[in-house]
């Protein structure tokens, strides 16, 4: 049977050459990047560059993930997920190869670049979720550990939780799981992902105040109300926690509207004011012309009547 720690798939030595049984492509192990419940991920070198390779203790789980990854890839435009390269077998294990994403963890990115990035990252995430939901799937296991910022774009890593809408969520992390907070079921529906997005948002803004789950989402709501960073988004975030948004598009729209509004009053600079003044003058000028024109018409009318 399969046991996590002992499994040799989690202990492949750097330098080992993996040659696929079917496609005969060669990948050399550079180092282990991590391991999860169904397999270990390695950084590998191939003749065409570096990739990430996931090899499993659970072949079925691996194949199921590949299905999810292919789905994400087919949703593309520019997908947030790593692009899928191929799946093959080695030594009786199934493995798959995907893009190796360089990037910064969410928390350190926000810490370095400022909290105003939080809403931007969440908007990027929501735009992508909207596409995924449109295809009939949810992401499931949304959490900072599964997200990276590469360049200035958020990317997602682990697609093990991608679940067909209407099914039960395959993989989740209790802190970001609405069922765990008593705020809904574990059925895959768009609002499930949106709850996780709200918790990530809150967690990024208040990284040091981890609420305990005993008090339910009231605790999360309290954090939202107390945070200055979250102040503009209070009602939106609480709505998302309570399942008020049925689609990623709606939450995206609400956040975008707020975010654009938030930046304006602070940035209503002198230039802006001047432009406003100029606009006022122009409208005054316009109304004078219109009045003059009307007056002229009236005058002509009177003249004609006189004849």
């Amino acid at each position: 049977m399969m046991h996590l720690a002992k499994n040799p798939a989690a202990n492949i030595k750097p330098g080992t050459l993996i040659i696929g049984k079917w496609h005969k492509n060669r990948y050399q192990i550079v180092k282990q990047l991590g391991y999860g419940s169904i397999g270990a991920v390695y950084l590998v070198r191939s003749p065409v560059g570096h990739y990430a390779l996931k090899i499993g203790y659970d072949n079925m789980g691996i194949i199921s993930e590949v299905n999810a990854l292919k789905r994400l890839t087919s949703v593309q435009g520019q997908s947030l997920g790593p692009f899928f390269v191929e799946m093959d077998d080695w030594n009786g294990w199934t493995f798959y190869v995907m893009e190796y994403i360089h990037g910064q963890p969410l928390f350190s990115f926000v810490q370095k670049n400022g909290r105003e990035w939080i809403v931007v990252l969440m908007l990027q995430l929501l735009a992508e979720l909207k596409k995924l939901h449109g295809e009939g799937y949810i992401f499931g296991d949304l959490k900072p550990d599964n997200l990276l910022v590469s360049g200035q774009r958020i990317r997602w890593l682990d697609v093990g939780g991608v679940t067909k809408i209407g099914h039960s969520v395959k993989e989740f992390t209790s802190f970001y799981d609405r069922a765990h907070w008593g705020a809904g079921t574990r059925k895959a529906e768009p609002s499930y992902d949106l709850f996780s997005v709200a918790v990530i948002f809150i967690h990024l803004a208040c990284p040091h105040q981890l609420p305990k789950k005993e008090a339910g989402i009231k605790q999360l709501e309290k954090l939202v109300l107390a945070s200055r960073t979250l102040h503009p988004y209070q009602s939106i975030l609480i709505g998302a926690l309570r399942g008020a948004y049925e689609h990623a598009g709606k939450l995206h729209g609400a956040l975008l509207e707020k975010a654009s509004g938030v930046q304006r009053p602070a940035a209503a600079s002198r230039v802006e004011k001047k432009r406003l003044k100029r606009r006022k003058k122009w409208s005054l000028f316009k109304s004078i012309i219109v009045m003059a024109f009307l007056f002229l018409l009236f005058f002509i009318y009177l003249n004609f009547k006189g004849i």
């Binding site: 049977m1 419940s37 039960s168």
Partner: protein, 244 residues
């Protein structure tokens, strides 16, 4: 997998059996009857000895299921994962046998090219979501489990949350061992939700020996319609006797 029902026994324990028949033999018997036996070993500050680990692995192996050794705080995730994996594996096994019967021996899912396998797994996932699931949870309540029972409770409620989100029907039964004056105590008979066991757990008084083998046999009996009814009657008589 008669009439599309998956039958699982989930054994949660923290050590070695010390009374009664060999648990692996009983697990093998359960497997023969179309059940899967999964075993989770829970550790806290103590450790499960090598002998305990070996037994846990042997039971799961004989029962065609999965085994994990985890810290109590990881229990929820593990219970859920193991249940799901075992379910998938059962279906996978059935699909495999079908393939072999159609294409002859030596034709299994693993012999298919990767892309085709993806399609098969899609079907397996779909079946895992829609088939009925019966889980008999068997909890070790010997003295050393005292500290861990609250986490066990939490993990079972969590499992129930996940299973309720499935499309197919679920039912759970809960047995604890050792029981009062017998090998097991039936805490909850087949029910679609395990939420109700929350209160029952608080009444448990952990202690006694670890008759894992006989307990597994009782868990197995839960799946047989005639025997379970007979046992039920017997249990009633017992509880009357003990309450009187």
């Amino acid at each position: 997998m008669s009439q599309g029902t998956i039958k699982q026994i989930l054994l949660i324990t923290d050590g070695c059996s010390n009374v009664g028949e060999n648990p692996s033999a009983v697990a093998a018997l359960a497997k023969e009857q179309g059940m899967t036996v999964n075993v989770i070993g829970v550790v806290e500050n103590d450790r499960i000895g090598a002998q305990g680990i070996a037994e846990i692995e042997a039971i799961a192996e004989a029962g065609g299921g999965f085994s994990r050794i985890v810290y109590a705080k990881e229990l929820s995730k593990t219970v859920q994962m193991v249940t799901r994996q075992a379910m998938t594996q059962t279906i996978y096994g059935v699909v495999n046998r079908e393939l072999t019967s159609i294409f002859g021996e030596e034709k299994e899912i693993d012999d298919l090219p990767p892309d085709k396998r993806g399609d098969v797994i899609e079907v397996v996932d779909e079946l895992g979501e829609t088939l009925n699931l019966k889980i008999c949870v068997l909890v070790d309540t010997s003295a050393s489990m005292r500290q861990k029972l609250s986490m066990v409770k939490e993990s079972l409620v969590d499992l129930s949350l996940s299973m309720q989100a499935r499309i197919g029907d679920n039912s759970f039964a809960l047995l604890a061992f050792p029981g009062k004056r017998k090998d097991t105590e039936k805490l909850v008979d087949w029910t679609p939700k395990i939420n109700e066991l929350t209160t029952i757990f608080n009444k448990l008084s952990p202690g006694g020996v670890t008759p894992t083998g006989p307990a597994l046999r009782d868990a197995m009996a839960m799946f047989s319609p005639t025997r379970s009814r007979r046992r039920w009657l017997r249990d009633d008589a017992f509880s009357e006797e003990s309450s009187g």
